[in-house]
């Protein structure tokens, strides 16, 4: 499928970049805002055909494009999507529109640079999600860093934005450079085995890698992704980045950038190194469980609304990891679904916190109380989003969490029990927070004159709420897209693991370090 003669995925990658270049030549702030919104909307609309034209009967990569980039090294510009990346691409284009909307009045200075960073970020996100060549993926993965770094550093909270921005950059960078070495090692193992140098993941999936090497390589990939997810104990950059970033930055960070980590596991780390993934399954599951419980407990104690939501992300992403490493259909499907849910629920929570922050310029829970009386419309939206985040039946959160718990119980009953306990904790901190902010008497006189949501803000939240219910009530619409891809993922995974069991002891000499 082509748009203006350009294959659709390439169009989606480079259209925001082209838009960013156009923005360079516009002077008036108002026109910049409208242009960016138009670009984001066109991008979103252009991404919709992916959903409708997607063939859900096959697990093969679709909308494929394959060109040489650096032929001498076997680096290709190979992009395509399957049922796993499809929905994440849509999430990215969808959230970008909302982010532009919610930045409308919140960003008051250097609007042009802000919008350019955002569009640049979108290029990076889409590129990383559709790349099927490891180097291409790495390039987009790193490209995402710079605009996000600028978003936090320039438009973040004055007090600690610089610290948070640098921490964000260095953490991600430190993890990913080791991944680069692992990618290179993988390349040369493949070169030796097949005589063909390639970074094409679909080719590399077929490769059998000696056990010892697999552990090292998986370790390097897993570290890069675990930092991005973030898994306990690599999560310390996240609360800082989230708290200091502007609202839209937090939304896109929670909504899409964290998913790059979980997506990286499911697309690269696990299928490439299945035996190592299986061996390390207990470790990763336990870290995920620690993340769930720890994130929830720390959330409970947070005096700051945004930090609370940030730590709840640690907890939610713990579920995603747990489900993925349950390695059964329910777990993996729930995990992918929960990635989308978290993007929508937590994204909405950040939007809501941003809205109230714009009015009161504080995020301390103790500064609020009784808000529901002065802002009834706001209260309704907030309630729905809170319940979705808790996982109330009928909302999207329930579907994802339920499947993950189901998967976890099958994998190991202890994991299931502990994860279920985390759900209760999750309900506790969210509801307690909601009660302290929204109910009771208005104790702070500054809260009395608060204006309810305006039309723009309602328009921003309505699509989110609509999706919360749609995904909660009719999940089949989305599951049908990912069914065959998940099935193939598990089949290939198990196939490779069993194949390995029959192999004689690997030649360890190949991995000897010098």
């Amino acid at each position: 499928m082509d748009i203006l003669g350009i294959p659709i995925l390439s169009f989606l990658i480079f259209f925001p970049l082209a838009g960013a270049i156009v923005l360079l030549f516009i002077k008036k702030e108002e026109i910049i805002r409208w242009t960016t919104l138009a670009i984001a909307l066109v991008e979103f609309v252009a991404s919709l055909p992916l959903f409708f034209k997607f063939d859900s009967t096959t697990a093969a990569m679709q909308f494929l494009e394959d060109w040489w980039w650096v032929e001498a090294y076997g680096i290709s510009y190979k992009i395509g999507i399957d049922g796993i990346s499809l929905l994440l691409v849509l999430l990215a284009t969808f959230l970008t529109v909302l982010c532009v909307l919610c930045s409308w009045t919140a960003i008051t200075f250097r609007v042009k640079e802000y919008m350019i960073s955002f569009l640049f970020l979108e290029t990076g996100m889409i590129g990383a999600l559709v790349a099927l060549d490891l180097i291409l993926f790495y390039v987009f993965w790193e490209v995402m860093l710079i605009p996000m770094y600028l978003l936090i550093g320039i438009w973040g909270n004055p007090q600690r934005r610089i610290y948070a921005a640098i921490k964000f950059f260095l953490f991600t960078m430190a993890g990913s450079v080791l991944m680069l070495v692992a990618i290179l090692v993988l390349y040369f193992i493949n070169l030796k085995a097949t005589g063909r140098g390639t970074f094409d993941v679909l080719e590399l999936y077929k490769l059998g890698i000696p056990m010892g090497t697999q552990h090292w390589l998986f370790g390097a990939f897993a570290l890069a992704f675990a930092i991005k997810v973030p898994m306990f104990p690599f999560h310390t950059w996240l609360p800082d980045a989230h708290t200091e970033a502007p609202t839209a930055g937090s939304v896109i960070l929670a909504g899409v950038l964290l998913k790059m980590g979980t997506y990286g596991f499911i697309r690269f780390a696990m299928p490439l190194f299945p035996n190592a993934a299986l061996d390390l399954m207990p470790l990763i599951s336990i870290l995920a469980l620690i993340g769930i419980i720890y994130g929830a407990l720390v959330s409970m104690m947070q005096p700051d609304l945004k930090r609370l939501v940030a730590f709840s992300s640690v907890s939610h992403l713990g579920y995603v990891m747990l489900g993925m490493f349950a390695l059964n259909t329910q777990g993996v499907q729930g995990s992918i679904y929960q990635m989308l849910n978290h993007g929508i629920s937590t994204g909405s929570l950040f939007l809501i916190v941003g809205m109230i922050y714009e009015r009161r310029h504080t995020r301390m829970i103790s500064d609020f109380g009784g808000i529901s009386k002065v802002m009834p419309v706001f209260a309704v939206f907030f309630m729905i989003v809170t319940l979705s985040s808790i996982g109330l039946p009928g909302t999207n959160g329930f579907v994802g969490e339920f499947l993950i718990l189901l998967g976890a119980f099958q994998a190991n009953i202890v994991y299931g029990v502990l994860a279920a306990a985390g759900v209760i904790l999750g309900a506790a901190y969210m509801l307690w927070m909601f009660q302290r902010v929204m109910f009771g008497k208005i104790t702070n006189p500054k809260n009395e004159g608060l204006k309810d949501l305006n039309a723009r803000e309602v328009i921003t939240l309505i699509p989110m709420v609509a999706l919360i219910f749609l995904m909660g009530i009719y999940p089949k619409l989305f599951f049908s897209k990912m069914d065959s891809s998940v099935e193939k993922f598990l089949k290939d995974f198990k196939g490779k693991v069993e194949m390995k069991a029959d192999l004689p002891a690997p030649k360890v000499a190949e991995v000897k370090e010098r």
Partner: protein, 483 residues
């Protein structure tokens, strides 16, 4: 006595550069006094361009001349192209900077051309005396250039320090050459190699001494740890355009000679020098990066960063395989673009009497001079190895060579170092974009020549990052004769 064959066509680029050097001197002498002498720069540029177009056609086949003392193989040609690009950009930058600082007279441009001549000889020499002559031609020119700002104490200190330490290093190198001659009876690189191989001289103490001395001599020129002590002071004090020239040109020529001598003359000693260079590479990267973090002067910071980059290049040198060597060629060209670009930004942010070379001077520049700051950011990110810029591709090739040769730890230490380096490169962007300026920088004049250099460097940095194929395959072809 039979006269050796003389094929002047082979050394046409060198002759042109030398001729233009003298021409610049002559024009300067006979030109009316007191004028601004912008045309001297233009004349030098013309010389470089003509030499460039005489270099390109030589790329086809490897030819040797002057009784085998001089070769014009792919390896030499690639280096000459890189060196001529460096010279071109340096002259362009100088046309703004040197005029501003009042050093834009004939000797300045002539010496740049003579230094270029020396570098080109170093890339082409297959006889140790030719290499040594090239090295001296280059070094002596640079000693003088470093001290050009003679009213400035730091510049004089820089020249003096560079001269004293450089003379020592040259002494070491000469000792190395002498020992090599003593042990093998020849100064031709190929003859040395075959003599060592035929006589199995691997335990010869004289040869081992010579190996150590050569490592020191070349290690000084490429600024590798522990022979790097001069670098920060010299880079800080020298005129900024010359600092840029040293960081890129001298380094490139130093590596050219190092690779040529070690790979052609001493391949038998590979196990010995591999282990030494492994250590030097790691120490060079780490020391360079870690000390760079604490620098407050941008020229010193770039000096330490250039030390670190020498370390990365040594990683590929240790790997010693085909992809490593072609990776070095690619790296040095990409490094030339990004480093000269960064120094151009440093120059453009200064004015006469106010250099603005403290890192804190960069506060708030981001929104005051958006294009300048964006360019600086791009060059720094490229040096940090962020895709899709030239520096990333360069590092990618180098580390892939290390992995291919199974130097896993070297590759890991290399990438970790490059993650450390992100910190100090980012620090400049933090200041430029995230902080308000405490002191307004006003009245900057962007003369056209350095701006053109900046644009060319940007194009080069992006081109090598996004479309690396052409340069890479050229580099791969270039090393065919060497390996």
């Amino acid at each position: 006595m039979k006269l050796p064959d003389i094929d002047l066509y082979l050394i046409a680029p060198e002759i042109i550069i030398a001729a233009f050097g003298f021409l610049v001197l002559l024009v300067d002498v006979f030109a009316p006094k007191g004028e601004k002498k912008g045309y001297l720069g233009v004349l030098s540029l013309i010389g470089v361009v003509i030499a460039f177009f005489y270099t390109l056609p030589l790329a086809g086949a490897a030819k040797t001349g002057f009784e085998g003392m001089f070769t014009s193989d792919g390896f030499a040609i690639f280096f000459k192209i890189t060196i001529l690009i460096i010279a071109f950009l340096t002259v362009l930058i100088s046309m703004g900077y040197a005029t501003r600082e009042g050093i834009g007279f004939g000797e300045y441009y002539a010496l740049i051309l003579f230094a270029t001549l020396g570098m080109m000889l170093m890339a082409s020499g297959t006889h140790l005396i030719v290499i040594f002559l090239g090295l001296e031609t280059m070094s002596i020119s640079i000693y003088i250039l470093a001290g050009m700002l003679r009213e400035d104490r730091k510049s004089v200190e820089s020249a003096f320090k560079y001269f004293l330490l450089g003379a020592f290093a040259t002494g070491f190198l000469l000792y190395g050459i002498a020992f090599l001659y003593g042990a093998t009876g020849s100064l031709y690189l190929k003859d040395i190699a075959s003599y060592i191989a035929s006589k199995k001289l691997l335990d010869n103490p004289m040869l081992l001494m010579s190996l150590a001395f050569l490592t020191i001599g070349f290690g000084f020129k490429i600024a590798s740890v522990p022979f790097h002590m001069w670098t920060p002071d010299v880079y800080e004090g020298a005129p900024t355009s010359i600092t840029a020239f040293m960081a890129t040109g001298v380094k490139a020529a130093g590596f050219a000679a190092l690779i040529r001598v070690f790979f052609t003359a001493l391949p038998e000693f590979r196990p010995d020098w591999t282990s030494i260079m492994w250590l030097i590479a790691v120490v060079t990267m780490t020391v360079g990066n870690i000390i760079a973090i604490s620098q407050n002067n941008i020229k010193r910071m770039l000096a330490y960063s250039s030390i670190a980059h020498a370390g990365y290049i040594l990683v590929a040198f240790v790997a010693g395989n085909k992809s490593g060597t072609s990776g070095i060629l690619f790296y040095l060209m990409a490094y030339a673009f990004m480093n000269l670009g960064a120094f151009t930004c440093v120059i453009l942010l200064g004015k006469k009497g106010e250099e603005n070379i403290l890192v804190t001077d960069y506060a708030g520049v981001g929104f005051k001079y958006p294009l300048l700051a964006a360019s600086m950011t791009i060059f720094l990110l490229s040096m940090a190895g962020i895709p899709p810029l030239g520096g990333f591709m360069a590092k990618f090739y180098i580390f892939s060579a290390a992995v291919e040769a199974k130097f896993y730890w070297l590759a890991i230490l290399g990438v970790l170092n490059s993650a450390i380096s992100v910190y100090y490169y980012l620090r400049v962007t933090v200041l430029m974009y995230f902080r308000e300026s405490e002191r307004e920088i006003t009245g900057l004049q962007f003369s056209p020549a350095p701006v053109i250099a900046l644009i060319l460097a940007l194009i080069g940095t992006f081109y090598m990052g996004i479309f690396p194929s052409n340069v890479l395959s050229f580099a791969q072809k270039s090393i065919a004769g060497l390996m």
